[in-house]
Assembly symmetry: C2
Homo-oligomer: 154 residues x 2
């Protein structure tokens, strides 16, 4: 378990209770929450925290390499305390975002493959799998137009 206090102190940054809580919430979450979700959770402990503080804090944590921020084809950022490269899954029906556990390949190999055939210097890769989660795949909530799409929202 990473001690955010140590990480921050090592970088010469202030340790504040807001930062500790925001980081802990994200460390313990596999939901890849949006800023709004983080804000709602943090407010349970710090009722007077401002939305702006949540934004600034997650932004700073990202800049310090302690979080990764991404979006998945929607107009909203999500945050992940797991900064190692790993694929995600996005449900086309309910919108949930999960880690793609058990994916057999090491995505770093994709980086190497891409680097071997490209004039660009490849640093990392994002893998986003889209489909229906177990709760939605059996239901009629599937988005019909996505069923007949041959591409997706990449």
């Amino acid at each position: 378990m990473v001690y955010i206090k140590d990480l921050l102190r090592k970088k010469g940054l202030r340790v504040t209770p807001q930062r500790e809580l925001i980081y802990r919430l994200l460390s313990e979450s596999k939901a890849h929450p949006t800023a709004e979700h983080v804000y709602q959770e943090v407010r349970k402990t710090f009722p007077s925290i401002s939305f702006n503080t949540v934004y600034k804090t997650v932004r700073s944590l990202e800049e310090w390499g302690l979080l990764q921020r991404f979006n998945t084809g929607e107009n909203i950022y999500r945050y992940d305390a797991n900064v190692s490269p790993h694929p995600h899954f996005i449900c086309l029906s309910c919108g949930r975002v999960d880690d793609m556990d058990n994916f057999p390949d090491d995505v770093e190999n994709y980086v190497r493959k891409a680097a071997s055939t490209s004039p660009c210097e490849i640093k990392f890769v994002n893998l986003h799998f889209y489909g229906y989660c177990p709760l939605c795949r059996g239901s009629s909530r599937k988005i019909n137009n996505k069923e007949e799409d041959n591409g997706g929202s990449d």
Copy 2:
């Protein structure tokens, strides 16, 4: 070469010069432009077109499966007339977005791999490679914090 007129008529949709031009610009572009870029290009032919028309048109083309829309970790949508699954490359310095030509793997295999180990129903995958394009890789314009990041913006 896809004839947008035929595609639209087949779906019972109006063929308008704005739609033709917007689709043609995107078909011929590998830049995966934003709505603003599309708007600037279209204005060269239709000076009085409205920004709203561009937004509504690309949105409709996407809904009709004729375009794909995605974002790459920034707060802005990009559009691509190539709706078949293919990886993209994003430059961390200049921000350009390109197709990852010559990538040796068929990304559909990744979908099959993911589907074989996941309880989710996987429909498609987005692959975004991040790094430095040939113009930026040799320069000092690299974003320093990204050099030492171990994850990225996924």
